[in-house]
């Protein structure tokens, strides 16, 4: 018996059916692994009141790539959950910032490792965990802590997603994924935390069974929709830029 391929024909089809109020996680760190094409397609849906989960709301670099800031500008976002709600360098301004300062969108600022682990926990059936991160800081004020072996830890809840938008290097029709280099980053935990994981793929979808099972980075059972990224300019690919030092 052969199961059907998870491939869909377009980005619009890949992001179809996102409900108002959905929580969506976006993989990626800097340029590698960001689902630029799915994020752009989402802008053209009517989805509203979204909660967006990602490392950052978008970079300060130019040229500007599709990011959560664009969704905020379109009034689609109720809340963001990110490790950056301001730029890494205080002198840079994120497009998101003025909407946040004006109170038009909510934000929950989460340390990056706590964000990754909250997603991992959601994907692993763990409702909450204790971490030493952020103990003694403003982020821990009024929250539950507990001492283990003489050290204080902060209670953090799992962060389940309705949808994950991720980007992979290769996929087979069953949704088994391979990532390349630092493209992997948040993508596996985003997919595992989600009810529906949607993947933009950099190469043509390969027949099921093309990969050695030992060489799969994310099992296809966590993956629901695949869409192939066409060459530029139809598809969006990472741009080379000179990062500020």
């Amino acid at each position: 018996m052969t199961r059907g391929s998870k491939e869909v024909a377009s980005f619009a089809e890949a992001v179809a059916g996102i409900e108002d109020g959905a929580t969506i996680g976006f993989g990626g760190f800097a340029m590698p692994g960001v689902p630029f094409n799915l994020m752009q397609a989402l802008q053209h849906t009517g989805a509203k009141h979204l909660t967006c989960v990602a490392n950052t709301t978008g970079g300060a670099a130019q040229p500007r790539m599709p990011d959560i800031g664009h969704l905020v500008e379109r009034g689609m976002v109720r809340k963001v959950i990110c490790a950056f709600t301001a730029a890494t360098r205080a002198s840079d301004e994120l497009p998101f910032t003025k909407y946040y300062e004006a109170g038009e969108v909510e934000a929950e600022l989460v340390p990056q490792g706590t964000l990754a682990e909250r997603l991992r926990a959601a994907g692993a059936g763990i409702p909450a965990f204790y971490t030493p991160t952020a103990v003694g800081t403003e982020l821990a004020e009024g929250r539950e802590t507990r001492v283990f072996a003489g050290r204080e830890y902060l209670l953090e809840a799992a962060l389940p997603l309705d949808y994950a938008f991720i980007r992979a290097h290769r996929a087979d029709a069953a949704g088994n994924l391979r990532f390349r280099r630092s493209q992997r980053n948040f993508n596996p935990v985003m997919a595992m935390a989600a009810r529906v994981a949607i993947v933009e793929v950099e190469n043509a979808i390969e027949p099921t069974g093309s990969f050695d099972p030992d060489d799969i980075h994310l099992a296809g059972i966590f993956v629901h929709r695949l869409v192939v990224i066409p060459p530029a300019p139809d598809g969006i690919w990472p741009q080379l830029r000179e990062p500020k030092r």
Partner: protein, 218 residues
């Protein structure tokens, strides 16, 4: 007076790295530690799961799938490995990072430091700083000794919201190397051309000076 330049501040820190250390370098001046020629064999770890990265990629040789935590295109050493984000922070949280080197707005004599939120801002940029600060074996800080208006960044207590409490072991500024010592800072080494009087005037906490003070070879 200025003292050390940015690379020299990074050098002063990198010379403290020991053979076999796993090191995480923060955005900005800390990334320059990997330019310092040192004999110690270091494994560089980046929050995005790249373990064992090497120098920046040469122009034209960038790999679009490969960046460090600052978004810079780097190269990989033969021992390199890539893990996902949750595993990358498992490495951090489980105490396997020997030293994390970060920038900061303020550092205090009690070992607190602040680097994620500026005065008056609603948002902040934490990134991996709180995880690294809470869990690395050592936290080293590199920062300019004063703000642009001359106000001190080395203080008795941080005025800004802190990143972690009581964790800083070593501080490099353009004026020298310092160790938070509770009520004040121990001056470990001084930058060439800088005097103890200048440092004391520019520091917001007592500065303890050893009997024999070494000058940083810049």
């Amino acid at each position: 007076m200025s003292g050390l330049n940015r690379q020299q501040m990074a050098d002063a820190i990198a010379h403290r790295f020991q053979d076999g250390w796993i090191v995480n370098l923060g955005v900005g001046i800390p990334t320059m530690c990997s330019n310092t020629p040192i004999s110690a064999d270091i494994i560089y770890h980046s929050e995005n799961g790249v373990i064992g990265y090497g120098p920046l990629a040469a122009p034209g040789a960038e790999d679009m799938h490969l960046v460090n935590a600052g978004g810079q295109h780097v190269t990989l050493k033969p021992e390199a490995a890539v893990v996902h984000h949750a595993d990358s922070f498992a490495i951090i949280r489980s105490g396997r990072i020997d030293v994390t080197v970060m920038g900061a707005y303020e550092v205090a004599a009690n070992g607190d430091f602040a680097n994620w939120k500026v005065a008056g801002a609603k948002g902040g940029g934490i990134g991996g700083a709180m995880d690294l600060a809470a869990c690395a074996k050592r936290v080293f800080i590199i920062l300019e000794h004063t703000q642009r208006n001359g106000a001190p960044r080395l203080l008795a207590h941080c005025a800004l919201p802190i990143t972690a409490r009581g964790v800083v072991k070593l501080v490099a500024t353009n004026y020298g190397l310092f160790e938070p010592a509770g009520a004040g800072f121990n001056l470990i080494e001084i930058a060439p051309g800088i005097t103890v009087e200048q440092i004391r005037a520019a520091t917001g906490a007592p500065v303890h000076v050893p009997d024999t003070l070494k000058t940083i070879s810049a």
